[in-house]
């Protein structure tokens, strides 16, 4: 068998002494690609010559499905677009639909949405921190991150009954009001959680090996980042103010105090720092929201049949955990969207991977990929 195959290889005299790229397939099944992203990497020794991402292994045609569902039914699919921060996508779709139909959620619902989206941001960033550290080789932060994430998911489960795909934020409000014990439990969690951030930072931030691996690696310059559509914390690491919460405030983000976390270097370490600072900002945001939570209705009175106005369209953006989450909806006067496009942060952030890794070592692909916080279901949809 072996001999047969070897005999079929023709020796080409010209190419006998030539060199060839060392092509390796990272993925679709690989420990560091966070799912089923496939990277065809051309190597020269350890040095990366080119990284070609191959997408589509997790394509579930959510946009086509949504064209065949009513607006409320679409919300259940938004959970699956980015299952690590499903609340954000829920919110993005709910907001887009509300703006399309000229609805507005009551204040209590808006505050609740903010609380849950920010909790989701905590959960997502915690998972990201663990996965990023794991990509670089530190395995313990992953477990620490998941440990705290579990408590957040407990809060979600207590409120809406699910831990991953919530279907909680609905058009015109939220699914159900929080339980009376939610607020004290949430506050207790925040008090428990805040010192833990310092612990993660002890483990990672100034660890010399971590610094070696992340500082100066995968630098996104502001010009390249903006032009390539990088968004969210990944772009804020380059010093571009791009937080949709500040730029185009939705919900009550214009009524609360929070800082947009900016770093200037644009390398993996800056992106890490941005996200770690966002953890603290989110904690303070949730505290403010809990303070301002007042009793009231949790959903608006909706028409019996939710129909979009004919020939209407909306492009609505929010800041999800990963960056700019845009929903483009085209209504045609029926109960179903004519077109529903999810603009996902990971899609654009993955695009820039090739530029960032050229000339670096193969291990840096994992560091850069991890620091971009891409998640495959969002890329492929």
């Amino acid at each position: 068998m072996t001999d047969l195959l070897l005999s079929q290889i023709k020796v080409n005299d010209e190419s006998q002494f030539g060199t060839d790229d060392y092509v390796v397939n990272l993925g679709p099944q690989h420990p560091a690609t966070h799912g089923v992203l496939r990277l065809i990497v051309k190597l020269d020794g350890e040095t990366v010559k080119e990284t070609i991402p191959v997408l589509g292994y997790l394509h579930r045609s959510i946009e086509k499905i949504c064209e065949n569902r009513t607006y409320p039914q679409c919300i259940t699919y938004t959970d699956r677009v980015d299952y690590v921060s499903a609340m954000s996508v829920n919110l993005a779709f709910a907001l887009a639909t509300e703006r399309l139909m000229g609805l507005e959620a009551p204040p209590r619902a808006q505050w609740l949405r903010m609380i849950f989206v920010e909790l989701q941001r905590l959960a997502s960033h915690l998972l990201w921190m663990g996965a990023f550290a794991g990509d670089i080789g530190a395995l313990t932060p992953f477990l620490y991150g998941l440990r705290e994430r579990e408590r957040i998911l407990d809060l979600f489960e207590m409120t809406c009954g699910q831990r991953l795909t919530y279907n909680y934020i609905r058009i015109g409000g939220v699914m159900i009001d929080i339980l009376p014990e939610f607020v004290p439990k949430c506050r207790a969690f925040l008090d428990y959680f805040e010192p833990k951030i310092a612990e993660y930072e002890d483990l990672l931030t100034y660890n010399p090996i971590f610094l070696e691996r992340t500082k100066g690696v995968g630098v996104i310059t502001p010009e390249v980042g903006i032009n390539a559509g990088v968004c969210g914390p990944s772009l804020r690491g380059s010093g571009v103010s791009c937080d949709v919460r500040k730029q185009q405030p939705y919900l009550f983000y214009d009524q609360v105090k929070f800082n947009e976390c900016l770093e200037t270097a644009g390398d993996c370490w800056s992106r890490y720092k941005v996200r770690m600072r966002e953890l603290r900002e989110s904690v303070s945001l949730i505290r403010q929201c809990l303070d301002r939570l007042e009793p009231g209705p949790i959903e608006t009175k909706l028409p019996p049949v939710l129909k979009a106005p004919p020939a209407s369209e909306i492009y609505s953006r929010i800041e999800s955990s990963r960056g700019e989450m845009g929903i483009y909806l085209v209504g045609d006067g029926t109960v179903k969207p004519w077109k529903c496009k999810y603009r996902c942060a990971s899609f654009n952030n993955t695009y820039v991977l090739d530029q960032l890794t050229r000339g670096w070592k193969i291990a840096d692909i994992m560091a850069v990929l991890g620091s971009l916080d891409m998640i495959v279901p969002e890329v492929d949809r």
């Binding site: 092509v23 390796v24 080789g137 395995l139 313990t140 990672l204 971590f210 070592k361 193969i362 291990a363």
Partner: protein, 352 residues
């Protein structure tokens, strides 16, 4: 009194009586090493199993988990179960493997590290063969693993394995240098390469870790790198190269690599204990009633804990940074250390 020397003496007396009973007294010189090797192998196997369990428990508690707790009390028999699983599972071999290196590699990986155990003195006189070039022997024999890893990487016919093999070759060769250099000051001060002699020197003076803290640090670091343990585990970097050089190995062959890695940890930790932490010596004179080999094991476990804590705390270095660290930090510091020690020996005599 219970001491390593007495135990060894009574056991060898017993053995010699046994030989005489079956009429093999003439082959005493051949049989003794064979028996010693078997004893050592038994000890090492059990100890590695314990270490694997310990590593899993240590990592579990560091990560607020429980760890293995199903097989045996506290999951102590978990490793036994794993070993049984590894021996009876199907041996999957790549079709286009290079047959001879593919089969030899795990054997070399195991034998090379295991042979290092020969000169480790567990107690005064409790040593298989106290060679007068003991340190040199260990350094020489353990670096054989690079052949094993390189041939495993090459013969697997897998791109990731080959990358892992190359990385390992570069790494082990580079870290051999600081490893040796960190031991040189000790040899300069003691004037012997015999491990037993080094411990005896420390029994008259202080432990070397007090004089040679920097050398101790360099030794632990480069020994971790020699054993391919995190944060220097780039040859098998899980998140980059999947399994590195042992991607294509399964079953018993994988188990031998695994065993080899842990034995390498034991050997290098044992050398660290012997050279820098006073070997079998008790930390204070009044604790001398505790047998020496118990002190040795306690110190050994502490050092191994340190190595494990490295693995579960630190990120992994990149391959070029690893080289940078070896050549630009460890080697200059080690050479500086040698110079300083040399001056001290010159001016203050051997006792510092």
């Amino acid at each position: 009194m219970l001491s390593g020397e007495n135990i060894v003496k009574s056991v060898s007396d017993l053995l010699h009586q046994l030989y005489a009973m079956v009429g093999l007294s003439a082959f005493k010189g051949v049989l003794d090493p064979i028996v010693a090797a078997h004893v050592m192998f038994g000890f090492i196997s059990v100890f590695v199993m314990f270490l694997v369990w310990m590593e899993r428990k240590v990592s579990a508690h560091m990560q607020s988990r429980i760890g293995p707790n199903r097989v045996g009390i506290f999951g102590l028999l978990q490793t036994v179960a794993d070993a049984i699983k590894l021996t009876i599972k199907e041996d999957i071999k790549p079709v286009h493997r290079d047959k001879i290196p593919y089969y030899i590699a795990p054997i070399i990986a195991f034998v090379a590290t295991f042979a290092g155990m020969v000169v480790i003195p567990f107690d005064k006189g409790m040593v298989v063969q106290d060679l007068n070039i003991g340190l040199l022997y260990i350094i020489a024999i353990t670096s054989f693993t690079v052949i094993a890893i390189l041939s495993a990487g090459w013969s697997s016919n897998n791109k990731f394995a080959l990358l892992g093999g190359f990385r390992s070759a570069a790494q082990i060769v580079s870290y051999e240098v600081p490893l040796v250099l960190s031991l040189v000051p000790v040899i300069m001060m003691t004037g012997t390469l015999r491990l037993g002699g080094i411990v005896e020197y420390q029994s008259q003076n202080h432990w070397f870790v007090l004089y040679q803290f920097i050398a101790f640090f360099i030794f632990i670091t480069s020994a971790t790198a020699e054993a391919n343990r995190a944060p220097f585990d780039i040859p098998e970097a899980e998140s980059e190269l999947i399994g590195g050089f042992h991607t294509e190995y399964s079953g018993v062959k994988f188990a031998m690599f695994f065993l080899g890695e842990y034995i390498a940890v034991i050997v290098s930790s044992a050398v660290a204990v012997t050279v820098f932490l006073g070997g079998w010596l008790p930390p204070f004179a009044f604790l001398a009633f505790v047998p020496g080999f118990i002190w040795f094991m306690i110190k050994l476990l502490l050092v191994i804990y340190l190595v494990m804590a490295f693995r579960w705390t630190f990120p992994r270095l990149r391959v070029d940074q690893l080289m940078d660290f070896g050549w630009k930090v460890l080697i200059p510091v080690a050479i500086l250390n040698i110079l300083v020690t040399g001056f001290c020996v010159l001016f203050f005599g051997k006792g510092v």
